[in-house]
């Protein structure tokens, strides 16, 4: 019994720290796999449910996926002589769609600047009203464009204006939040300097904050413009105006106008890719320039 007194003190973790670590890893793995199983079960049952509530089933539909594109392409190929002419015919509506996106980005962006500055701590004109403006932006962001567009169509009639207003409102909320996050990180020293020489709030913002945040703001605005082109095409389809409306008319007509469908698909695709590339390129230059 004597030698035990000289032995090592009993280990709280039999097996040393290694075992404790392994136990932790095992526990983490268990949690991880339980979460993963739960997630995949949720996905599977979700797909099953969506499949059940769909008019046509997934497995019946799967082999028909290419039927419609094939039918469209076949007819368009038979009438391929029309395509160049049709292509030019739809350029004006494509321009209208781009115009809707551009104007709503500009108007929404302008509103977003004001909203963002008014709701950023340290910059706000009326610090007590910050939460009013940030809740306002949340509200604007949450309303989907289609809701406003459809209601406005009832009041204003068809055309591009309802879509433009709807997208502009949503843009002002979405960009306002991003702008305000950028402005929060702006250096306040220039603002203080301007205040010390008696600049008004508008001047402090224009000369103290704007130059700091302009590259990031522009970059977000370009990204939004990309998103808005897609949105304005979709709103045209649901409501009226632009290339989406032409697409809806051609789709409703069905067989006989598939050459138009192909022309619209391709012009829409090319425009989206063109503006994506253009804005991606510009954004890269803006952010790289800002880091220098």
């Amino acid at each position: 019994m004597v030698d035990t007194a000289f032995g090592p003190t009993p280990d709280p973790h039999p097996g040393g720290p290694q075992a404790g670590y392994l136990a932790m890893v095992r526990r983490r793995r268990l949690y991880g796999s339980v979460l993963a199983i739960l997630f995949f079960a949720l996905m599977a049952s979700g797909f099953h449910l969506a499949d059940a509530r769909n008019a046509g089933g997934f497995w019946q539909g799967l082999h028909q996926v290419f039927d419609f594109p094939a039918e469209v392409v076949r007819e368009a190929w038979a009438k391929r002589a029309n395509l160049p002419g049709l292509f030019f015919k739809f350029v004006p509506s494509m321009i209208e769609t781009i115009n809707i996106a551009a104007v709503s980005t500009l108007l929404g962006g302008g509103a977003a600047i004001v909203l963002a500055l008014l709701s950023t701590r340290g910059l706000a004109r009326w610090p007590r009203l910050i939460w009013v403006f940030s809740r306002l932006m949340d509200g604007l962001r949450a309303v989907p464009e289609i809701v406003i567009a459809l209601v406005l169509i009832f009041v204003l009639g068809g055309g591009p204006v309802p879509a433009m207003i709807a997208i502009a409102l949503h843009t002002s909320g979405a960009l306002g939040k991003l702008f305000s996050e950028v402005a929060e990180n702006a250096d306040l020293k220039p603002v203080e300097g301007l205040a010390s020489v008696g600049a008004r709030w508008g001047q402090r913002m224009a000369f103290g904050v704007l130059p700091q945040v302009a590259p990031n703001w522009l970059s977000y605005t370009l990204l939004r413009f990309e998103i808005n082109i897609r949105a304005s095409a979709i709103l045209g389809f649901v409501g009226s105006g632009g290339i989406g409306y032409d697409l809806k008319l051609a789709m409703q007509w069905g067989i006989g106008k598939y050459d138009q469908v192909i022309a619209i698909f391709s012009i829409l695709f090319l425009t989206i890719v063109l503006f994506d590339q253009l804005s991606g390129h510009l954004r890269e230059r803006l952010t790289k320039g800002a880091h220098k």
């Binding site: 797909f47 028909q64 989907p144 979709i234």
Partner: protein, 440 residues
């Protein structure tokens, strides 16, 4: 040399300032010119002329008002009282609202503020306080109108076959076939229970106290009955609406998560530090560009031809579009990882799968998750629009309600629900994002 530099500095400075000033003035001028062009291209003056402000008035009014029709069929004399004039909102006979009284073939409608309409025999009269009595009797197929002396005021419109009176208290209209009174009252009618439910007309206090009271419907407990009748409310269809909201969220969830699962392995193929084969990388990137460029609208149209309308079609459309977006973003995230961790894992003899799992994923997971959750929120909104196209979810209900152009209170109900749904998803995804990224 220094002399020249000194002399040229002010000139260079002045030139720079001049250029900056040019930009500062020409940019707003350009934007202004663009606005003028759009003003003309969108025909804004024409829009102003075509705008239906009366529609706007109906809309605003309907958002928070409902109307009750008191209709007499002039051919057989039957009087019906129905909310919004719909059969499912009709009051059962003998249970009329207290402002309509019937006795001996005379119907008296009290519109409040002293406005009273009386249907008597084949005729009807409307007593307007401060003006007098408007009486109408049909004579030989025409409407004979008697008014107080003086000019006919502008709120009464008269023709041989129709008389219309609009006051603050309501509207009164007589044609040869029917005599009708519309009374406007604030609120959303029958929101909880329709008139055929035994629980209608209890009021909020009555409903709460009935929870502990005696059974109103002897076959079921009050709470069960109330929930059932609310859920199956024929006017508002709360059950269907809840399903539609769920379908919309389901579309967004399945589409976003499915896209993330599909895009993750593909992103490894498109990342320069994992795929040495330049052509394969290039091809993968073009696939992503194609998926993104075709856009959700076109995917939706193509898929709905194969799968028919419903949430699955919407989910698959979101899945395809976002596979492109996620593939691009994930591959960029993969290219920006720190190679040292991967090398470290590799030095212990790990195979490529283990290197990816233990060396790469822990680094990119927070970025990936944050992007996926951000898209989940934004896709809830897209799913509303896609639902309107493919015919599923709350988007479909919304477009249906708007296209009938009369159920504006339902439109506003759906709008409130959509906004709440998006806000809940926004909050939930933000919470999850903070939780997961801090935990990681």
């Amino acid at each position: 040399m220094t002399d020249a530099a000194l002399r040229s500095t002010p000139t260079a400075m002045i030139a720079l300032f001049r250029r900056k000033r040019m930009v500062a003035f020409s940019l707003p001028a350009l934007i202004l010119a663009y606005f003028v062009y759009v003003f003309l291209a969108f025909d804004l003056p024409g829009i102003a002329a075509r705008a239906r402000l009366d529609n706007a008035a109906i809309l605003v009014n309907d958002f928070w008002n409902y109307k009750t029709h008191v209709t007499r069929d002039n051919r057989n004399g039957a009087v019906t009282v129905a909310i919004e004039g719909e059969a499912k909102g009709a009051y059962p006979s003998g249970q009329l609202p207290d402002w309509v009284t019937q006795s001996g073939g005379i119907t008296r409608i009290n519109l409040g503020q002293g406005h009273v309409v009386t249907y008597e025999g084949a005729g009807a009269r409307y007593e307007v306080p401060g003006y007098g009595t408007i009486a109408i009797t049909p004579e030989a197929g025409k409407l004979a109108l008697s008014l107080p002396p003086g000019d006919v005021p502008s709120w009464i419109s008269v023709s041989d076959t129709r008389v219309d009176v609009t006051t603050d208290a309501g509207r009164f209209s007589v044609t040869r076939n029917r005599t009708e009174v519309f009374r406007y009252q604030p609120g959303w009618e029958l929101f909880f229970f329709t008139l055929d439910s035994p629980y209608s007309g209890l009021g909020p206090l009555g409903a709460v106290s009935a929870l502990w009271g005696e059974r109103i419907d002897p076959t079921r407990a009050n709470i069960v009955g109330m929930v059932q009748d609310f859920w199956t409310n024929k006017m508002w269809r709360h059950g269907d609406v809840a399903w539609a909201l769920f379908e919309t969220v389901l579309m967004a969830f399945l589409g976003t998560m499915g896209a993330a699962i599909v895009a993750l392995p593909l992103a490894f193929v498109a990342a320069a530090n994992f795929t040495r084969l330049r052509s394969l990388r290039f091809a993968m990137r073009r696939v992503f560009d194609f998926l993104r460029g075709v856009d959700g609208l076109i995917w939706t149209l193509i898929l709905s031809r194969a799968f028919g309308p419903g949430p699955l079609t919407g989910a698959l459309a979101i899945l395809l579009t976002d596979t492109g977006s996620f593939g691009k973003m994930f591959s960029e995230a993969l290219e920006n990882i720190d190679e040292k961790q991967v090398e470290g894992v590799g030095s212990t003899g790990a195979n490529p799968m283990q290197k990816a799992r233990l060396g790469v994923m822990p680094q990119v997971m927070p970025v990936l998750l944050s992007q996926v959750l951000y898209y989940l929120e934004s896709n809830t909104r897209s799913a509303t629009v896609i639902g309107a196209i493919v015919g599923g979810g709350i988007g479909l209900l919304l477009t249906q309600a708007i296209s009938t152009q009369k159920d504006w209170e339902e439109v506003s109900y759906y709008m409130v629900l959509i906004v709440l749904m998006v806000m809940v998803m926004d909050t939930a995804s933000g919470w999850l994002r903070r939780k997961l990224i801090k935990g990681a």
